[in-house]
Homo-oligomer: 199 residues x 2
């Protein structure tokens, strides 16, 4: 089976860990944070700024009436669009290098001509809250209510971003080849099972 | 991995064929039509009648004001409920015998205490229409429009039946462990890949 694998995921579903483990298991490349670093290099925008835009903000962060002011023309280049274009180029370059797992960032849509295997990872809210709590032991513990609100907010951002650039519904079955429920599951075990699909 | 596998499926998605092939591949039992035959034997209702109720009609087919008439008390036993109860018993008996694949009939919910692996099979409308057309070569060919209307009607019945008895949403990710898109896929190949999950 082809081994360009894209992973969309709900926040707290363990999708990123699943992607990393899957790539390790299959001995293929794994791209995630590297995409942000590379965009930042090419656009000369800070990594922090790029991270803020990528997957969360499909629309420019500055007021849209800027066109009516006396700003020089360069200021009108929409940084969100610029970042998305760079991201598309980088993701295609990465996929062209060979088999890989790419997490998030509309990679399923950007690579559609290469027919990637598109996975979406999800879980019930209780599992997502538990997973967020277990991986964030350093900081002040948040209440379940606060974690829940944060998960919903981040996923709304991902959905909006994905739908803006792809015209497809984020997280709905028809946008993917397979969906995997990680509620109460050990991610390493799920990765082992999934890897067998591609071996 | 456990090998009690339940398969929910959209009409025309190839889910039944997938279930049969998966069971063959794993050398485990496959239950589908057998369930209707067994219910029919135990209830003394005709197979045709049972088939009509199973997965399509959660509510009695006779007028609900029957309770106000002079019918003998036996006529008040709701045949849909009777069939569902028999179905639950039979599915539990089957699963208790050993590893198996069970298609449809709320088996995922009926067997929830045994923690079956719950798969849902779906496809885009064009693929479902093409699949219905290819397996029904004998009869007068229906238009795409008629096939589409039929698929929607049957799936609405399945959704209503499933939601009535389980209180869960049919076809929505959180009701299952994994969802598989069979659009433009060869079912035998999908079955081969899926079987590796359980080997």
């Amino acid at each position: 089976m082809k081994k360009i694998i894209t992973i969309g995921r709900e926040f707290g579903s363990g999708g990123r860990e699943l992607g990393r483990r899957l790539a390790e298991k299959l001995h293929i490349a794994y791209y995630d944070r590297e995409i942000v670093t590379e965009i930042s290099k090419r656009t000369e925008l800070s990594e922090q700024y790029v991270q803020q835009i990528v997957e969360q903000k499909p629309l420019p962060l500055y007021p849209i009436h800027v066109g009516q002011s006396f700003y020089p023309i360069d200021a009108l280049v929409d940084p969100s669009q610029q970042i998305y274009q760079q991201q598309s180029l980088i993701i295609k370059e990465m996929a062209n290098k060979g088999d890989c797992v790419i997490v998030g960032r509309c990679a399923d849509y950007i690579l559609k001509d290469m027919k990637p295997f598109r996975i979406f990872v999800y879980a019930d809210m209780a599992s997502k809250i538990a997973r967020c709590r277990s991986r964030d032991k350093e900081t002040e513990p948040l209440s379940d209510k606060a974690l829940r609100a944060n998960i919903i907010k981040l996923d709304r951002g991902r959905a909006r971003y994905y739908e803006f650039y792809t015209g497809q519904a984020w997280g709905l079955p028809l946008s993917y080849d397979a969906l995997v429920n990680t509620s109460n599951q050990d991610i390493a075990q799920v990765a082992d099972a999934l890897a067998r699909l591609f071996q």
